[in-house]
């Protein structure tokens, strides 16, 4: 690091350092001369009653001090400016290198931790490499100069003073490891506080909504207590570090005054010389302490150095992107997170300007694939090429001109609308910025802004919907006009209307770009040329006729009334590649007799059954049923439920929307209660009953020819004496109080049963 970063910085600022160095030497010499003049004032002017010399020496001292003060002030300003230059450039270099990292790095380090390293640790390093080392030089010069002067007074006293230096050093040496550990812990603890506040500020409303305020405050107390302990421990070690030299200095001073006084009394030393000597001794302590401070800072610097080195990228190769074609070729790609294999020998070719969609279950690796294409992640094995360039091996200059990813959550920076847009292309004119807004349908909104492009949209961001924010993010991409655009669940935070707009317009806005959309919106796949399904660690071409695999049973009649049941079924079945024998299905649901009747003549129950048969026509893998037994008599209801169970047993997935809790208990593994559009609860019926159910036993017995009823909690029933006492009576009935899903629903939704919003799957 010193060779690659610090030394070039020092060299760049060498002029400043030479000036500071020169001034510092002057200040040190000026300081060292003053006790010497003082000695002459006492011995040669005051004690010798030489008034003329006294005035001359006092005037010299006065002006020398003034001059030194002025030089010190100039030096201080110069020094601060120089230090700041180095600090800022140092931080900028490290920050610039962070752009070379991939996503694993950002997943590993919390932003507060990175912030602490970039602020605290880099400052520490800068202080050490420039300020401390530099002051060490001037200190050594002062030390040599003062030692020479003291030597001229008395060699024995000079040796005595110099002995204290190694004594202090060896006394402090055992404390170095403690100092190192304590500093490291303190940095981590500071970073923890940062992490806590960054997260809490971001999710303040979520925490409020969850009612987790108290918990959060407790966590803050815990973190602060931890920090307090660490700070106090550090303070103690620092105190020992500072008190040991102070004690040794005191000891030295006592010995020197005693010995110096003895020499003066004996006449071997003049009074002025003793005074000067004592002043020099005090002065020599400062350089000694500076040297010790440097030594003291060594462990801190080592911690900071390691923390900064840890975040620097190992490989810093950046090359221009040279390829002129933009076909994407993925060859034998393998990627794992620890032991979790995500892709295995994945191969894919994406032609230039094609529009493709990638679908798959949560956790299948869709976003990971997007990150690999962007070079945010590096594959363990295999290659990704864009034209002739391999992605993930090196970083490319201006790669965003070729490939850009539109993230799930639109990012609006704390800046004006212009500033937010210019991030993508700082050379874009106002006209281009406005055009990009027009293309994303934001022109009317732009016209409504009082300050136009200079409006701070972060401050007014609260008024922007998710869709509008994403449109601004898309405007940025329009300004870049990249060759490849990756859309990673880019409509997940926006409403249905905006989602529709995005999917319908994205290809029109970027007709000459390759678009790769990672999506869950199966109903939007028609907007793409090709669709790939991420499954079993690989991408498979997903045929657009995915409706082949789903069956939908609507609640309301959805058949051509003037056509017979048979004609309806033949018509709908003709669209599927795979068909089930509809005659057998119709017989099963008791409609074989009505096959050739017009559907208009069917009763409601018959239409519901016909809907069910229609949903099964293509032997689907997933069956969506809306109120499948509504309007059916118990017999027919039983038939439909039996068929649903059989479908499940064959490995099919059934999603039922119903208000009949009996059906839910009988047919479903999982229940989702929805209330006012929000999922209130999701669990298995059994777990719901365990969680919300009343666990009690009701006993009815005869007493004085009257039926008495008592309810006992099921908990600890074996030891419940009242219950055992009841059992000795003339028992009429004993039964458990079973809670139904209806009760649970009412409980969950606060007793407001709203059929329109109640959906149970």
């Amino acid at each position: 690091m010193f060779k690659n970063i610090i030394f070039p910085l020092l060299r760049k600022n060498k002029r400043g350092f030479f000036v500071i160095f020169f001034f510092s030497i002057f200040i040190s010499i000026s300081g060292a001369i003053q006790p010497f003049i003082m000695q002459h004032i006492i011995d040669d002017a005051i004690l010798a009653s030489n008034l003329n010399q006294l005035y001359i020496l006092v005037v010299i001292t006065f002006f020398l001090t003034i001059f030194t003060m002025m030089i010190s002030a100039i030096n201080e300003i110069y020094y601060t400016k120089n230090s700041m230059n180095i600090l800022f450039e140092f931080r900028k270099i490290v920050f610039n290198k962070l752009f070379l990292h991939d996503k694993t790095f950002l997943n590993k380090y919390h932003s507060a931790d990175l912030m602490s390293r970039l602020q605290g640790d880099i400052s520490e390093l800068q202080r050490f490499y420039t300020d401390t080392v530099f002051s060490l030089f001037s200190t050594i010069i002062s030390l040599v100069f003062i030692s020479t002067i003291i030597y001229t007074y008395n060699i024995k006293l000079m040796i005595l003073i110099l002995i204290f230096l190694p004594i202090e050093f060896f006394c402090l040496k055992p404390l170095y490891p403690h100092m190192h550990n304590s500093t490291k812990t303190m940095r981590e603890s500071t970073s923890n506080i940062g992490k806590f506040f960054i997260e809490s500020f971001r999710y303040l409303l979520v925490l409020k909504n969850l009612g987790a305020k108290e918990q959060t405050l407790e966590k803050l107390d815990f973190i602060q207590d931890d920090y307090k302990k660490v700070v106090i421990k550090n303070k103690k070690i620092n105190l020992i570090f500072s008190q040991i030299p102070a004690f040794i200095s005191l000891l030295g001073k006592t010995i020197i005054i005693s010995y110096g006084g003895y020499l003066t009394i004996k006449g071997e030393l003049k009074v002025g010389e003793l005074v000067a000597f004592l002043t020099y001794f005090t002065m020599i302590l400062a350089p000694v302490h500076t040297i010790l401070g440097v030594v003291n800072n060594l462990p801190k610097m080592k911690v900071s150095l390691n923390r900064v080195l840890e975040i620097l990228p190992k490989d810093e190769k950046v090359e221009p992107f040279k390829s002129s074609n933009f076909e994407i070729v993925v060859k034998d790609l393998n990627f794992s997170y620890a032991n979790n294999k995500i892709f295995e020998n994945l191969n894919l070719n994406i032609k230039e300007k094609s529009k493709i969609a990638i679908i798959g279950k949560n956790g299948a690796g869709k976003s990971t694939f997007g990150d690999l294409l962007c070079g945010f992640l590096k594959a363990q094995d295999g290659n990704i090429f864009i034209g002739n360039e391999e992605i993930g091996k090196n970083d490319f200059i201006n790669f965003s001109k070729y490939l850009v990813k539109l993230e799930q959550t639109p990012i609006i920076f704390d800046d004006s609308l212009r500033g937010n847009l210019l991030l993508a292309n700082d050379k874009a004119s106002d006209e281009e910025l406005i055009n990009s807004l027009k293309k994303t349908g934001m022109f009317d909104w732009y016209n409504s802004l009082e300050n136009g492009l200079d409006t701070n949209i972060f401050e007014s961001g609260a008024n922007l919907s998710g869709g509008q924010k994403q449109r601004i993010a898309l405007s940025r991409i329009i300004l870049l006009n990249p060759k490849i655009i990756i859309l990673d669940e880019f409509t997940s935070s926006i409403d249905e209307k905006d989602t529709l707009w995005f999917y319908e317009n994205i290809s029109k806005i970027f007709p000459d770009s390759t678009i790769i959309a990672i999506t869950h919106h199966l109903n939007m796949l028609n907007n793409f040329d090709e669709v790939y399904l991420l499954e079993d660690k690989n991408l498979k071409e997903y045929k657009k006729d995915y409706y082949e695999d789903i069956g939908v049973g609507f609640e309301m009649p959805v058949h051509f009334g003037k056509l017979t049941g048979r004609e309806n079924l033949i018509y709908f079945a003709s669209f599927y590649k795979k068909n089930i024998d509809y005659l057998a299905l119709m017989e099963r649901v008791g409609l074989s007799e009505a096959l050739d009747q017009e559907v208009n003549q069917y009763s409601k129950g018959m239409k519901v059954r016909l809907n069910f048969v229609r949903a099964l026509l293509n032997d689907p893998k997933v069956l969506f049923l809306d109120e499948p037994t509504a309007g059916l008599d118990p017999n027919n209801s039983k038939i439909i439920k039996t068929m649903i169970k059989e479908f499940r047993e064959r490995g099919g997935t059934v999603i039922i929307t119903t208000h009949l809790m009996g059906d839910v208990e009988e047919l479903c593994d999982q229940v989702v209660f929805m209330h006012k559009g929000i999922v209130s609860e999701a669990a298995s019926p059994r777990n719901l009953k365990l969680e919300y159910g009343q666990k009690e036993i009701q006993v009815e017995y005869l007493e004085n020819n009257q039926v008495v009823s008592k309810v006992f909690p099921l908990d600890k029933i074996a030891t419940n004496e009242d219950f055992h006492h009841c059992l000795e009576k003339d028992i009429q009935t004993i039964h458990t109080g079973e809670t139904t899903l209806d009760d649970i629903f009412i409980k969950i939704t606060g007793g407001t049963v709203d059929d329109a919003t109640r959906k149970t799957h």
Partner: protein
């Protein structure tokens, strides 16, 4: 492609089952009777109007009927979960209406040939009918998709007819002065009138050029830019 053919077959089957085909043929029969009863001198003036009336007015009604029957019976939902694209569903409707109109056109053509021995260039005749049907169904679909139900659609359709179709007829009967002819060129019906008229008599080349461009460009713009997005939105909303 096969899915589209199946959808078209389904549309035609429903036209038959819902008696729309019968009505269409019945209307053609009325035209046939009218043609037979017409004075020979009035044939060249009236027949183009009958052909136009059938192609322009009936096609809109057929298209709207097909759409609203499906909407009323909720089968639009069922169709949407089939392995077909929304554009195929719309295309099947347009093609089935064109087929019905071509059938109607064939009946009228045969009547003219058999009863009066009037010869017209067949290919041009069907091509012009195709253009008239395409342009009118495009406008008709815009009206249909903006109407809540069939009766609301009929109200809008009558307003549209008063503004565009009726003036063309009035112009033909010289109720409206000829100087208004080029103003009426804004109406696709007037363009259709010039095209059909050209089969029977001389029409100025400028009128032919205007008609051909207008009736080709109008559906080419309306279908992809207005009708299809709106149709997709409406059926997705279902």
């Amino acid at each position: 492609m096969m899915q589209l053919v199946k959808l078209i077959k389904g549309e035609i089957q429903r036209f038959y089952k819902y008696k729309i085909l019968h009505i269409s043929v019945l209307v053609s029969v009325i035209w046939v009777i009218l043609i037979i009863l017409l004075d020979e001198a009035a044939i060249t003036q009236m027949v183009p109007l009958l052909i136009l009336m059938d192609a322009a007015m009936m096609s809109i009604i057929l298209m709207a009927a097909s759409y609203f029957f499906e909407k009323q019976e909720n089968t639009i939902r069922t169709t949407f979960v089939l392995p077909v694209y929304p554009r195929q569903i719309l295309l099947a409707k347009i093609i089935s209406v064109i087929l019905l109109e071509l059938l109607s056109g064939t009946i009228i053509l045969l009547t003219m040939v058999i009863a009066y021995g009037i010869q017209v260039p067949f290919l041009l005749y069907f091509a012009y009918i195709l253009l008239i049907v395409l342009s009118h169904t495009a406008v008709g679909m815009v009206i249909t998709l903006r109407s809540k139900d069939f009766s609301a659609m009929l109200t809008n359709y009558i307003i549209f007819a008063f503004i565009t179709i009726i003036p063309t007829f009035l112009l033909s009967f010289k109720v409206i002065p000829e100087s208004w002819e080029f103003v009426l060129a804004l109406s696709p019906t007037q363009g259709g009138q010039w095209l059909i008229e050209s089969l029977f008599s001389q029409v100025e080349p400028i009128k032919m050029i205007i008609s051909l461009i207008y009736l080709s460009v109008l559906p080419a713009l309306l279908y992809p830019l207005v009708v299809y997005p709106r149709y997709k939105k409406v059926i997705m909303g279902e």
